[in-house]
Symmetry: D3
Subunit: 314 residues, 6 copies
């Protein structure tokens, strides 16, 4: 434990890395991360890491393959430079949703990514993910899952929404909504069912649960195109909800989603900073971002000092 702790940042979310280091009271360590003219990633670690406890912060968000390979290459450099232990801190674990086959002859890309991280030299993974089975079990190395549910739950509680009802925009997220409901003291639940014809086109089927005259909060994991969120909001408003809010961990926004959300019937959208959000939001933006930096900092600190991490999330 006498080993020094060093944090390096990839290029995908430098602001979160910076904030995390700030919370830890140490500077980000220096590395040169760029591209050769032909687009190949080029890395040089600019500080000695021999025998140290190294944390690499990189969100595997868009451009997802570039950010993934950059992380792998940084790990290769750090491993060959004789770091004692390498922890890949992955605020957003891209490809996590491709965790099973939905039809024959598909990849399980999330498992592939797990294997790539392991073969490139990760000794430990520190992702922020939903409480599902897949990712942690895809690894044989230790994984310390961080949860944003507590953080988001506190924020929602602060809104003092009486008579709120929480729910899931699809069948797969019901357990997450149920968990969230417990954090709010046991609020009622709703589920929006939909038929998923293709992975992109979703058609609402019907909504179960009583939302009439109440404030509905849609709980989700990732907002990407925002389509399913907006469809669910419409269902809820048609079902008589007074107003609809959304709350999700990852803002994996495709182009124009900020504009789409701002002009939607949603009253507010709460997300975290695991993925940087474009800055062109209006002053009175509906999108509220709460930072996960303190959670990452506390977890890294505990890992480094060999203290219990689960104690943080109990």
């Amino acid at each position: 434990m006498a080993r020094t702790l060093k944090i390096f940042s990839g290029s995908s979310n430098p602001e979160l890395a910076r904030l995390t280091a700030e919370h830890l009271g140490i500077p980000l360590s220096r590395s040169y991360v760029a591209s050769f003219p032909n687009g190949e990633t080029r890395v040089r670690i600019e500080e000695n890491v021999r025998g140290l406890d190294v944390f690499l912060v990189q969100s595997v968000c868009a451009p997802v393959d570039k950010n993934l390979v950059q992380l792998l290459i940084m790990m290769d450099a750090v491993r060959r430079a004789s770091a004692d232990r390498i922890t890949a801190v992955i605020p957003y674990f891209g490809y996590a949703r491709q965790e099973k086959k939905t039809a024959g002859r598909e990849p399980i890309s999330a498992k592939l990514v797990a294997n790539l991280l392991a073969v490139a030299g990760a000794d430990r993974i520190l992702p922020m993910t939903r409480p599902g089975p897949a990712i942690e079990g895809f690894f044989d190395i230790p994984v310390d899952h961080l949860r944003a549910a507590g953080l988001l739950g506190e924020r929602v509680k602060d809104l003092a929404l009486d008579n709120a009802v929480v729910g899931s925009p699809d069948a797969g997220g019901v357990a997450r909504a149920e968990d969230f409901s417990r954090r709010l003291g046991g609020s009622d639940l709703f589920v929006v069912f939909k038929r998923r014809d293709t992975p992109d086109n979703v058609t609402p089927l019907h909504m179960v649960g009583d939302v009439k005259g109440r404030v509905a909060i849609i709980i989700d994991d990732i907002i990407s195109t925002g389509k399913s969120l907006i469809t669910a909001a419409d269902s809820l408003l048609e079902g008589g909800a007074k107003e609809v809010h959304a709350c999700a961990v990852h803002a994996d926004f495709t182009e124009d989603v900020v504009k789409v959300l701002e002009s939607s019937r949603l009253k507010s959208i709460l997300v975290t900073d695991t993925i940087p959000i474009p800055n062109q939001r209006p002053l009175d933006s509906k999108i509220h971002v709460c930072s996960t930096a303190r959670i990452f900092a506390e977890t890294i600190d505990r890992i480094h000092r060999h203290e219990s991490v689960s104690a943080l999330f109990s």
Copy 2:
């Protein structure tokens, strides 16, 4: 493909193995599987397997550790005897529910079992499991998941239950119920939410969905103690359901469950034969068992002849 196909059975579900071989039109191959006086499993493969395509049928049901280790030892023997390819046919994949940590410092036993199977020499896994993420991605070797949903759906359709409503006895099974609803042509859905204080004691919270005056079918994956099923049935009857049926893939019955189910308010319980069911059922038993042998036989045949397996389940 000129390789001969041979099927061996462990001691956990010989009847299903026998039926599967019968469907394939071949005899079960001979092996000696017993215990030494001190309880250690003892195996001898009694037919030449050099260069052959070997399938080992073993449900990892109770006594779960004995059946698991027996399967591992059989694979070791077959591998050392130079089989060309070993497929572990696992109608019931024990430990599958321990697929994630629910608290700090827990194992992920399902991943451990996956690793044990791989290190013991499995070239391919053929389990019958629910369409969740974990198991398939826990392996790097090919996994051909079999689904019983089609089989069970046909049986339920045959009952010609008008006005049925299907649902899940807990939040985690909603996606499965939604899938089942589509197989029945889009019937309505319900969900029974519960607070899960400890893994054993479950307390119902509330039920959402409209079941009044309708036939409710609870869709589940595994029936073990039957507690959550019976609690859910009570909720549904209190909610006005006309009658309640249950439908699950695996009958992982603990002692006395047969008696408990027979005397419950459930109208009928439909399960498969992935786990042998004790024969002491009454003549007019509520428990109906449909065999998965034909599905296993067809899948094994396609795997052996290098034909598409996903075509079977589309």
Copy 3:
């Protein structure tokens, strides 16, 4: 070495684990080890183990598969909880006798078990085994073999048996008897040869060595059914031995063996506590148990403090 040492016990030999910890002057660490209603093992490590030097004590004795899988699952939990180093302390290494094929198409279960332990996360193995070739070489991780020969030799010396002759109840154990003879200062040797038709039925062939009028001590590794021991004792008494004693490391007793031994013509039977012995022995029992706890404690202490272990056994 600043790392703290923690010892956890599986459920197979808690008394030996407790005694070992006592010798080390530390408490056994807390873990929850139980079974789910369907028989699956369930584990939770109840103390932080991050960065620690963890020793898991578990005899792989009957019920052998349950105890083996429990050990594997405990290791999985400890590894995922980020222990620095995991040592599997295995007082009795079940399946050790299945270390080679005796016929075609048999498993080598001892090697399989070695592979299972390695894949589940063991960094080091600490078994008590006979000085044979197999087990240590089955591993690529360090193995610190403990020997009980010194302990047992001291006890036998204490009996001050003049004119003793030591020997093996079968051809495979002659080297062990020769080693024991040297510990007693070079006593004479005998060997009982037998024809081994099947692993269970043994037929004595003939005995070589001069035992007339002397005290014969049969040296063995494991007592299981006791059959070969009693047959050998009969041969020795027929050959003129004055009295016959037995001395073995592991008491892997099958049911009723205690009664069989108590009523045999053997004068005394000396074993260790690597396997717990049923307590229904008479007050004047012929079976004497000497504890290995001090040996385990000293070895664990030396491993933890990076001191030579071989020095203990030279």
Copy 4:
């Protein structure tokens, strides 16, 4: 060998894949390769591949990380779909130049890529590379290197350039130029030495060899920015060369290179189609492309039929 051969193409060089299949007299097999809205690669193999001999054609050229990850994901899908053997056909092996550290704490990205390919399921690699040590030895799986030197040598010979002198634009390529000289019947050699201050900025030092009044042919492996090529050509013309041609295997062109080359003092530039070249070239373009499809087709055919590949290149 009764196994059918199937060829799939990634999205990086479909034309070369198509031509290769055409030479083999078989159609390209169907796969769906696209991106999810958030940029994650999405793959579905649309033909049964069980037990087949599958070749995946993908140049790891710009966008290099996207093309690399796409290849890995395709392999994952094909492996899980139970292909008998997977050969990654990699006409251009991106990151190959990052095959050693040039300073401390750098990655060896080429080895990392080799490991990624192996872990994703490649059974065999079929790259077109220069005759250097690294790539082949980075793998433990078989690698069949294809060489374009014979193809390019034939083309240059066809030009019937009397009195030609061939050489290398840098010290590292001298062995390649010497090899090429032998293919032309032993023509004279030159070398342009340069000081390499940074990987991007090259400063010519001096040129050795007699080029006065002769046709100079610069032999290179990859043309990327074209800078070193144009600097070398200037040196040669200053040294009295009558005219200067360039010949390289891979056209890993960065933006605008086509324009730069067309307007340079080089008389002609000969490359292959391992990387697709933008089509905006003028009718009388100086850039001549010769296809490697026949070489790939012949090699794939020999690999599939278990015939000697080295015989092709001797």
Copy 5:
């Protein structure tokens, strides 16, 4: 099985390889195996092996390291040349006796050699070894042990030695002698015990068993310096034996052993050709060599045709 079978020979025992191929009715395949001027082994496989079933015959006898590395390098070449399956046929498995530690901080060289063979690409091992536990279990790949006991037993039976008594020159070989005794129809047994002070200097302790006036046959595994054999013969003659013969599998003769044996009091010495024996024996040599080529040929043939090998040795 349509795959062709090819046999290559290393340089350690070309005569046995030649005879084996002759028995199989095929020619030895061509390879170039030599040394560079600096002593490094240099190999080129001179026939196509793609997709073939390749057997490499190499005894790991003196010079043991050179022969071992040569075998590893040949396997590397054959693997990279895309053989379908590589079987290392190892008539004499050097380092096999270093199968366990005899003191602290020793290697287990036999396990190391097993790992080296596996990492170099062996798919299967075909050694001729004694029926001990270690070697087979050191591998996870299939091992087909050949036994010479049947062959040697036949030869001894042919001598029609009435009243023979067989035995072991040390405690470790008693099981082997017992097995041999059964092959001769249950002849009596003797054991020569010795104190083994250092691995080289052996001091006889005492002999048990009745040899007076009888023909004694010493059964051993390897004859190396011959010291223990000659000492045992002396003990037997002193004990009244009429004449003493020796029978061993491997003639791992150190220098001058031939001369020492010829001039000893042993009446005859029977060995096999797993290691080539120097040809300077007298016409009436006491050393008789029986060839194992037919056993190797039959086993290779069965392995290649996927027939049972254990049937050969039952």
Copy 6:
């Protein structure tokens, strides 16, 4: 870092190991390294190494296989004795030149050796090699390459050779010569091209570069038979060079090379002590040896204390 550092020497270059330890101010640790009568290597580590940072010094020079296997066996012993970290210090990495295939069906012996070192337990490799791509990338464990170029460059500078011209005796070494030229302040360059008909017979083709009236220094990596060096010197003298010197890292001398070099037209030959040089040199020998011990000592010290190694060579 509190771990103690221990250095052990194999038998290939004890003088360099001794000097290295001397520079570090510690004694060489004791180990017993010898041969059994049958030639098998026999090792016992004679000091406790539990938890220590162990460095094994062994040049893999002639007898190359014996020295290689000895190193592997020493590592096995040290690993099983629970060393914390094992660094293989390999002043001369034999087989390094077999780093690629030069024809079909050849091994890549250098990669094989890398795999053998890794499987035997090396945690880190410390070779002295030329700045080529292969060796470092053949490993996934950290490799700290030492370079002798700086050491040799200083020695050559000390000679104050005005008007020197440096160059390579073959095409493959041009980059090394260019690097050396920069170390001398940018001296001019020459290249001797040759046709390499077989690995042993080299025929000079022609020399490029201006050497007339100047002192020529041939830069090479390894001197083995010395043939190519002497041929190159002849070419240079014919080309008008005033005198010719040679400078190489490794003196991998075959028999008689010392005599051949002493009687050659070379003015001096500068090498290092990575391989011991026979002592029969004359008093006024042309062969000058400079020791690398200080470089090895400084590097080992930095590795042990977790300081930057690249800083040493910048």
